[in-house]
């Protein structure tokens, strides 16, 4: 078992192509979330909407460590994960519109994005509910002698659920290749970690199950990527689970209904000063790896992608009422 802090990276030498790729990925998420907020106000998107602004480095950095064969289990704050995992922005937005071309055919909405081809298993809106599933996906891989990783995202709030503890124990007991990624944004909805956990150093909980763990500065995309790749290699090489804590912060309210009574504006502003996009862009510019022109081009590309995605969602038909009861049960026998 090993535990380490890899939050502070040093020179972060990264080539220009990769730097632009990471920046592009984070900006895609940020601009998508901004558009979602706007569309929510315009009443195009309804229901619960949980935005990921501020946490982009986590999804982007971690998903860099996976291959297409690996599986992803995510939470209800999963637009960014879905997008970076390869689900088209159009299909994501169409889903939030409740349209037929949505990635869940309008049956899931913002909290339940799915894609079989991307091995993206949701979109789970029961806190902690996805962890046992990740254990099972990894068990299936192990029993079928496949060398794949199941990557399971969850928040700090999930650590209080029994399913977290049951899943950590099962994965450790049965030696299952699960990369548990805790997106610790310090608040379970409106309750700060210190008010819900007697021990706020979450990695120590993993250690108590004999699970290797690491914590990383979740606002630093290069640090996340580097540590996530190391963690994924441990999982791949050992076939055993790994607990990977990303210390991050959400810039927006928990959902669109949250008046944010539980945290100060000063605290939010302080964290915004550590914006993963701005700090990474600044660092890359200082190093001369990325120029203003590059960023401008990324913004233009993303703006076009968003325009196209909105147009796609707008144009998509509504699911027919005749199909209301489709998919309660399968239409075919399993092979």
């Amino acid at each position: 078992m090993h535990r380490k802090e890899s939050g502070k990276t040093k020179t972060d030498m990264v080539d220009s192509v990769h730097a632009r790729h990471l920046l592009h990925s984070m900006i895609r998420i940020r601009r998508l979330e901004e558009k979602c907020a706007e569309l929510y106000s315009a009443m195009k998107i309804r229901g619960f909407l949980h935005l990921y602004d501020g946490e982009e480095a986590v999804a982007v950095g971690v998903l860099e460590a996976l291959t297409g064969d690996d599986a992803v289990v995510a939470t209800y704050r999963e637009h960014g994960h879905a997008l970076i995992r390869g689900i088209g922005m159009g299909a994501i937005l169409a889903e939030m519109y409740g349209k037929q071309d949505g990635c869940s055919r309008g049956r899931g909405g913002s909290m339940h994005l799915f894609d079989g081809k991307a091995r993206f298993y949701g979109g789970n809106a029961i806190v902690g509910g996805g962890l046992p599933m990740a254990v099972g996906l990894a068990l299936a891989d192990k029993m079928q002698q496949r060398s794949r990783v199941t990557c399971c995202f969850f928040g700090d709030g999930a650590v209080a659920e029994g399913e977290f503890h049951e899943s950590m124990n099962l994965a450790a007991l049965w030696h299952l290749p699960v990369l548990f990624v805790c997106e610790n944004n310090l608040y379970a909805m409106g309750t700060a970690l210190k008010y819900s956990q007697a021990v706020v150093d979450l990695a120590t909980k993993a250690a108590s199950y004999g699970v290797a763990a690491a914590a990383v500065d979740g606002m630093d995309v290069l640090a996340v990527e580097k540590a996530a790749k190391e963690a994924a290699e441990v999982v791949r090489g050992s076939g055993k689970p790994f607990f990977f804590e990303c210390r991050t912060y959400r810039f927006r309210a928990h959902s669109m209904y949250d008046p944010e009574l539980y945290r100060s504006k000063a605290e939010v502003e302080e964290w915004k000063g550590r914006c993963p996009i701005a700090t990474f862009a600044g660092k890359m510019k200082d190093q001369g790896t990325v120029g203003d022109g590059d960023i401008e081009k990324i913004e233009q590309d993303v703006a076009r992608e968003i325009d196209e995605a909105v147009a796609f969602a707008e144009a998509s038909p509504w699911e027919s009422l005749e199909d209301l009861t489709r998919f309660v049960y399968s239409e075919r026998r399993a092979p």
């Binding site: 979109g123 789970n124 509910g129 299936a140």
Partner: protein, 334 residues
């Protein structure tokens, strides 16, 4: 053991379930069994006794007391291409996994727009009658049958105990199999070639023209016993084994009630909001004008199950109660 000249095979309900598991494990290497004490202990009700030695600890997998964790792991394993049989020791403990069953297994296909079906089988013991008091005696199969997205089956006979599992494993969606613990010692014979049976049709167990008794699981046997007593009095009761509570094969009982003009539902669940209530409603909706008497229900008394034997028996539906109710309904009670 076998009565080969008749091609019959004598066994208990417990052995029928075990044979079904063994056969499934042999036929499909994706099938495995996991649950509390299924391996080294041999199963809380000894259903899986001997299977660990035969199949090894990877496929007969003891789990920690983590119902939510291992039921959820079963869901994940099913999504990952395996065909897990998850044994939850009793329905009472399944409430610790209710989130996984109701909020994940039952909804994943729909919520994903048809992308992720969950071919999971969950077996659990159900029912009262063994003086195990309030926390070990629930009959919640009707409660689970409320939920779209899962199937709920209740084998009452040896043939069904033997044959429903394979069909459930072939199903692309989650199937819950409820085994009434009072039936495990029931002995009988099945044909040596007994095999898979359907899991979506009710069955007429006994033909009769005067009244239809609709039941399932352990209560079915009480209903059959009552029908035999009534037959001696010249009252011919038709007895229907629902077999599946979701989907509910209403056509079979509606046809029967339309012909017999009377219906009694015998259900070990509590009366309020029960599957018996659902069946009564469907009879009213569909064959109301065929009825010669109000639909009647015999369910468990609505109390937490008491420990004392005489109190517990007073809670559960009994043969003499069925007999008396039927006599009243057909106007034969003087």
């Amino acid at each position: 053991m076998t009565n080969s000249d008749k091609g019959l095979h004598k066994l208990t309900y417990r052995e029928a379930v075990r044979e079904a598991i063994r056969e499934a494990m042999h036929k499909d290497e994706r099938v495995f069994l996991m649950g509390e004490d299924v391996g080294r202990y041999g199963g809380c009700f000894a259903v899986s006794k001997g299977l660990l030695e035969e199949f090894g600890s990877e496929r007969i997998r003891d789990t920690p007391l983590s119902e939510s964790g291992f039921v959820g792991a079963g869901i994940g394993a099913a999504l990952g291409g395996m065909r897990p049989i998850v044994e939850v020791m009793t329905v009472n403990f399944s409430l610790l996994a209710a989130d996984q069953i109701l909020n994940t297994a039952a909804v994943y296909l729909y919520m994903s727009g048809g992308q992720f079906n969950v071919p999971l089988v969950i077996r659990m013991a159900t029912g009262g009658g063994r003086q195990l008091a309030a926390q070990h005696s629930r009959s919640l199969e009707g409660w689970y049958a409320h939920i779209p997205g899962i199937k709920v089956v209740c084998p009452a006979t040896l043939e069904d105990a033997r044959g429903m599992l394979w069909t459930a494993l072939q199903d692309p969606d989650p199937v819950l199999i409820f085994e009434n613990a009072g039936l495990y010692n029931m002995e009988g014979t099945v044909t040596a070639t007994a095999g898979p049976v359907d899991i979506d049709r009710a069955r007429v167990c006994r033909a009769g023209k005067d009244i239809t008794i609709i039941s399932y699981s352990a209560s079915l046997h009480k209903s059959i016993e009552a029908a035999a007593i009534l037959a001696k009095e010249g009252i011919e009761a038709e007895v229907i084994d629902l077999r599946s509570l979701r989907p509910l094969d209403e056509q079979t009982f509606l046809n029967s009630v339309a012909a017999s003009h009377r219906a009694l539902i015998v259900d070990e669940g509590c009366r309020s909001g029960s599957i018996a209530a659902e069946i009564a409603a469907r009879i009213m909706e569909n064959v109301f004008y065929e009825l010669d008497a109000p639909v009647a229900r015999l369910c468990s008394v609505e109390v937490p199950m008491p420990y004392a034997g005489h109190l517990e028996q007073a809670v559960l539906p009994q043969v003499d109660q069925i007999v008396n109710l039927v006599r009243k309904m057909v106007g034969a009670d003087g």
